[in-house]
Point group: C5
Chain length 96, copies 5
């Protein structure tokens, strides 16, 4: 899964019916110490993520395997909010 930070949101009135009510968030890939490394893209939120949070994004068909995205044309879903990460024995990120 990609490590990403939620940086914003998107609004769409005209969209595939199965996406009614889906929360569209703008995210950017990030490093293990919460530095942004990638360009913005849009993911559907499945876990109540908010702006500024570091999350995990599943891409591809995995995007349809959450309770809120089942059978939708979604190719990127936020499926976890990160509390902390540790690399080589050092804490690189801690939420809060």
């Amino acid at each position: 899964m990609r490590i990403a930070r939620v940086v914003g949101s998107a609004v769409s009135t005209i969209k595939e019916d199965s996406l009614r009510g889906a929360k569209l968030l703008v995210v950017r890939d990030a490093s293990v110490d919460d530095q942004i490394t990638g360009e913005p893209y849009v993911a559907v939120d499945a876990v109540g993520a908010g702006e500024g949070e570091l999350v995990l994004v599943s891409a591809g068909s995995a995007g349809r395997f959450t309770a809120t995205t089942r059978d939708t044309p979604v190719d990127a879903v936020i499926m976890a909010i990160l509390d902390s990460m540790e690399v080589s024995g050092e804490v690189t990120f801690r939420k809060g």
Copy 2:
């Protein structure tokens, strides 16, 4: 999902049967403030998008999960037309 702008269209007479009637649009990936960032590719339109509009494109198997692309060999579908986007509290795009 990729943020993309519709820039044109493609015509194909000889194509897989399941694509009869599919609208083939030429799109290019774009930034949150509607600047083009990527090279052209072709996506099937599932929401009535028109040239110049900023849209969301789902790639991969998600391309088959719209009413118009079910069970077709489509790997990129326009599944939402963007009204607006907001990043870090600022509106970066508003359709108009």
Copy 3:
């Protein structure tokens, strides 16, 4: 879908059984005005494409959603032959 030009063909005697009879074409990604932009790869032909033609290639699981590739280990299929493309109101490609 990727815009690609058919540039050659490949022959394989020893291959997965489900590929018997499959036509293996060498393709390269191309621009909307038929200039080659990418390196060669191999796609299965589902529409009778020939060398020199500009085509659409579907990648990933979409490669299995044509009549000729159903349930095969194919990850790239030619599913349309392009007649023309138009970008920003100008015809960039016309077959002929």
Copy 4:
């Protein structure tokens, strides 16, 4: 499959229900002689891998085809721990 080294771990309290109990490891793509070549991402562990081990990561829908990740929104899974690799007749990696 990608050759990758386990370099750390991630903790997430708020996540998709189907991920309860999943072990989230931070991995980086690596070469056949165990040199790191890529940026960190997160994979679910299906084989009891530990930090420092060289593993194989399956990406995409393959991520759901282990006993521990079936039907989950996982797009990267550690499905093998490497004992050794040999390239051009030379052992490039041996565990231990």
Copy 5:
């Protein structure tokens, strides 16, 4: 499908059960004239390929659509051994 050359092999004792007996080969993407162009990765062999052979690798979910990889967490499979390739009317590769 990717054009790739088999350059070595990998051994793994601890792996997902469904991979018991799977032959893990190290491959590198190659050009139509058998020059290596990419970094090593691991693919499961479904056709009896050997070191030095030029093969086709199917990536993603296609990796599960061979007799030997059905329902396994495999995202790259060797599904054809190339005999020859021809580009622009010239033979660029012939096995021998």
